[in-house]
Amino acid sequence: MSGYGFSETDCKIILKQIERRAKFRQEFLKLKSDPCKHSQEAGYVFDPAIQRFLSMKSCQVEYFKPCFRTARFAILTIIVPMCTLGVLIWNDRTEREQKIRRGELRYKDRLFKLA
């Protein structure tokens, strides 16, 4: 079955997937229709794949390793915006204050004075 535009490995993967799907579908239907399950444990069908996803999400902190990528992300999104914003605002405000004190900025030209 190397036709249909799929390569050999793709065919193999797809056939295995179909097998697995059928097996797990039967298992799921058995578990779901089991009348004893609904009074044991949690009452719903336990899905190991969902549990693996949840455990991965909650344990991700253990796998974190600081490296160049993560450091670059932190610096570019936290440190650089905070510092640039701080520097720009500081310079702008000191310059405006100096202008007002020297008399170069007239009262009527001051922006946001009624805010």
Partner: protein, 188 residues
């Protein structure tokens, strides 16, 4: 730095720090964080050790074992790069839930998935009501950006170039009797 805080905190509370604990805390720079993480997990989610992803698979045998654990074939299984911090969790194709067939009889129709099918590592953002990277857009991204930036940019350019052509209520200059200012504020 956080290890120093813990030491001073313990000293303040007159707690004796055993040499073993000190060694555990100071030897490895990651150990504080990992110890804290383990404690948080151990009290509330003590079952995570069974379902946690394992370490990144380096040998082919480890890869085969990991593929079997997640129920995939060895050819299909690719882990994320090691420094991304996912361990051996598989890298699944980025298909959002919205793109999936709505008429197939799924085992779990709320999530459009079947029983024991591995969830994408970022499945929370690929949910049916959220972002879908694989969607077939009606208008291409280029088209959307062009219209968006074009409209906003057009209005911005209008404002910039017509700044000096604004008109208000037409008034003349104030008419003062005599030649210019004829009063003084100071008594001299």
């Amino acid at each position: 730095m956080s290890s120093k805080c813990i030491v001073y905190g313990c000293m303040f509370l007159n707690v004796k720090m055993s040499s073993l604990l000190k060694r555990a805390l100071f030897n490895n720079s990651q150990s504080i964080r990992k110890t804290a993480a383990l404690f948080c997990n151990a009290t509330r989610n003590h079952w995570n050790y069974q379902y946690q992803p394992g370490p990144y698979p380096k040998t082919p045998e480890e890869r085969a074992a990991a593929a079997k654990k997640y129920g995939m074939t060895v050819e299909e299984y690719t882990p994320y790069p090691e420094d991304m911090g996912y361990g051996d969790y598989p890298k699944l194709p980025d298909i959002g839930e919205d793109s999936k067939d709505p008429h197939y009889p799924y085992d779990n129709p709320e999530l459009k998935r079947n029983f024991n099918e591995p969830l994408h590592a970022t499945a929370e953002i690929f949910g049916g009501d959220r972002c879908d990277i694989s969607i077939r857009r009606r208008f291409s991204l280029l088209h959307q950006w062009t219209w968006f930036l074009g409209t906003l940019g057009g209005f911005a350019l209008l404002m910039v170039f017509l700044e000096d052509y604004k008109i208000g209520r037409p008034v003349t200059a104030k008419q003062i009797p005599g030649q210019g200012v004829h009063y003084l504020f100071s008594p001299n």
